[in-house]
C-alpha cells in the first residue's frame, strides 16, 4: 500500500515535488512555512488540486490530472490530523471518532480512544479536553477512518512542550499499529528526527534532499535551509540508574552517558539526540573538565561546509556522533580519518525534549 505523490504547480506557490512512502513507513516533509509542505499534504487529501499532479495509494489513483481523475476528499481513504485538530465541537470524543467510521460503532470508538490513551473520556466534548487530549481525539478520528494514508499536519505545534514530549512517545508507540504510509509535515527538526524513518527537505516548493533520517540529519547541506544548528546524531541508550545527585546514568554504545534526571524506570530504552554544535573534540583525554561525558571514538569522515565550519563524523561503538567545529580547529588539531578523538558533551547541554523513548520501549510501556 505504498503512497506515491507527484505534484507540480506555479501558483499560489511554486511546487515541483515527487516522493513515495512505503506501507508502515513514516516520512517527514520538513521545511519552513511557505515551503509548500502543507499544500502538498492538502493535495494528497484532496483539499487542494495542483495544476499537474498524481496521487496513488496501493495502485488506486486518487488524483491524476493527466487522466482527469480527481476523487473528492470523502472518497479518498485518508486520515488527517489538522494543526488545530478541527474536531467537531458539538460532538463528544466518541462521536467525533464515530463520525469517521463507515458504520458508527461505539465499542470500536472506545477501543480506538483507548489506543491513544483516552480511556474514560469518550463522553467529553472537545471544549472540555486539554490540548493534548484534543490532539489524541484527532489522531483517533483519523485512525477510525481506516485510512490508506495517514497525514499529520504539524500535529504537535499547538501543545506545550511537556505535552508534546508525551505525545511523541505515544506516536512512537502507536507506530506498531500503523500499517499504512504516514506523512508528517513539520518544521521542527527535533520532532522529525525522532519520529521519521525518512525525510524530505523542501525549500520553496522543491526537494532539497530526500534520504533516511540519520543521513539527512548529518547532512549540513541538506539542512542549510532549516538551520545548520539542527545537524544532530541520535544514539540509542538504556537507563542504568538514577544518581542521588539528580543525574541519570544511561548505558549507550558509547559507554555510560550522564544526563539530567530522566523520569523513567531503569531498563527503559531511549533515544538521545546529540546536537553537532554542542560536541567538543579533543585528541588527548581531557583532564579536570566539568563535562561529564567524554566519549572516545574514531574519526571516519571530515566534511567541509560552505562557511567556517567542518563536520566531523566520529564512530563510537558502531554508532556515529557528529561534531561541528571550525575549520581552523580541525587544522590546528590536524584531524585525519582514522584518528582517535574524544567527544566531550556537557550533561546540561542535552535538552529534555532531546530524549525520547525508543520504539520498542514505548510499545511495551503501553
Amino acid at each position: 500500500m505504498a503512497l506515491e505523490v507527484m505534484a507540480r504547480a506555479d501558483s499560489p506557490i511554486p511546487l515541483d515535488v515527487a516522493f513515495r512512502v512505503e506501507p508502515g513507513e513514516l516520512i517527514a516533509l520538513v521545511g519552513h512555512s511557505g515551503s509548500g509542505k502543507t499544500t502538498l499534504l492538502r493535495s494528497i487529501a484532496g483539499l487542494w488540486r495542483p495544476e499537474t499532479a498524481r496521487v496513488a495509494v496501493n495502485g488506486t489513483t486518487w488524483l491524476d490530472t493527466a487522466a482527469r481523475v480527481d476523487l473528492p476528499p470523502h472518497r479518498r481513504r485518508v486520515g488527517i490530523v489538522f494543526q488545530n485538530y478541527a474536531l467537531f465541537p458539538h460532538m463528544t470524543a466518541a462521536q467525533n471518532v464515530m463520525a469517521a467510521m463507515d458504520t458508527a460503532d461505539y465499542a470500536e470508538a472506545e477501543r480506538v480512544l483507548d489506543l491513544v490513551n483516552l480511556h474514560g473520556l469518550a463522553h467529553r466534548k472537545p471544549a472540555h479536553l486539554s490540548g493534548g487530549q484534543q490532539q489524541r481525539v484527532a489522531v483517533a478520528r483519523a485512525l477510525a477512518r481506516k485510512p490508506h494514508a495517514l497525514l499529520l499536519d504539524e500535529p504537535f505545534s499547538a501543545v506545550d512542550r511537556a505535552t508534546r514530549e508525551k505525545l511523541y512517545d505515544e506516536i512512537v508507540a502507536l507506530r506498531a499499529h500503523l500499517a499504512m504510509p504516514v506523512v508528517l509535515v513539520t518544521h521542527d527538526m527535533n520532532e522529525a528526527q525522532f519520529l521519521a524513518d525518512r525525510m524530505v527537505v523542501i525549500e520553496k516548493g522543491h526537494v532539497v534532499q530526500e534520504d533516511t533520517t540519520a543521513r539527512v540529519m548529518a547532512d549540513a547541506h541538506a539542512l542549510r535551509a532549516m538551520g545548520i544548528r539542527e545537524v544532530a546524531a541520535m544514539l540509542p541508550a538504556v537507563i542504568a540508574e538514577h544518581g542521588d545527585d539528580g543525574l541519570t546514568r544511561l548505558d549507550a554504545p558509547t559507554g555510560p552517558l550522564y544526563l539530567p534526571w530522566i523520569d523513567a524506570v531503569p531498563g527503559t530504552g531511549l533515544r538521545v539526540r546529540i546536537m553537532a554544535h554542542e560536541v567538543i573534540l579533543s585528541r588527548a583525554f581531557p583532564d579536570g573538565l566539568s563535562a561529564q561525558n567524554i566519549i572516545a571514538g574514531t574519526v571516519t569522515r571530515i566534511v567541509p561546509g560552505a562557511g567556517p565550519g567542518v563536520m566531523i563524523h566520529v564512530d563510537v561503538g558502531g554508532h556515529e556522533i557528529l561534531a561541528r567545529i571550525t575549520r581552523r580547529a580541525a587544522e590546528q588539531m590536524a584531524l585525519q580519518p582514522g584518528m582517535t578523538v574524544h567527544a566531550i558533551l556537557k550533561s546540561m547541554s542535552i535538552a529534555r525534549d532531546h530524549v525520547v523513548r525508543a520504539p520498542d520501549a514505548a510499545s511495551t510501556a503501553e
Partner: protein
Amino acid sequence: MDWTALWLSMRLAGWTVAVLLPVAVLMGRFLAYRSFGGKGLVEALVMLPLVLPPTVFGFYLLVAFGRNSPVGGLWQNLFGHQLVFSFEGLVVASVIFNLPFAIQPAQRGFEAIPAEVREAASCCGMSPLASLWKVELPLAWPGLMTAMVLTFAHTLGEFGIVLMVGGSIPGETRTIAIAIYDRVQAFDGQAAAIMSAVLVAISLFTIALTYWLSARMGRRLS
C-alpha cells in the same frame, strides 16, 4: 379582536419561514463559502428590501405579479385567480421581502464554521450532504434560528407591502397589522389597543424564545 386576522398573520409568517428556511440554508451557505466575481452585487441585492420603502417594493411586485405580467398571467391561467390581492401573492411578497432577514444571519452562521472543520468532515468520509446534515447545520444552527425568528416576527409586523400587494380582504389578505390600521381608521380605539398589545406580546415572546434557545445552543456547543 380580529382572530381571523391574527390567524392569517400567523399562517403568513409560518409559510414565509417554511419557504425561506431551505433558501436561507442554500444561499447563506453559498455566500459564506464561495467567493466569486459579483458576490458583492448579489449580497447587495439580497439586502435591498432592507432599505427600500415597502411602497416602492410593493409597487414593483404589483407590476410584476399583475394580470398583464408574465408571472401574473401564468398564475391566472394555472389557478384561475390572480396572484395579487390573494394569500399566495402575500406569501410570495413576504418571502422576497424577508430575504435579508433570513439569508444574512444564516450566512453569518455558516461563516462561523472554520474551514478546517468542514475539511475534516469530508476527510472523515462525509459527502457534502452528510457534512451539511451532521456538521454544518448543527454548528450554523444559532444563525439559522435567528434567521427564522427574525423572519417570523418581521412578517407579523409587516404593513406597507401587505397593503400594496394584498389590500385588506378579510380572511385572505387582512393581516393583524392591517386590521389594527382599519380599526384605527374606524375610530375603534379599544380593538386597536387590544390587537396591538397581542402583537407586542407575541413578538416579545418569539424574540425572547430565540435568545433563550441560542443561549442554550451556545452552552451545548461549548
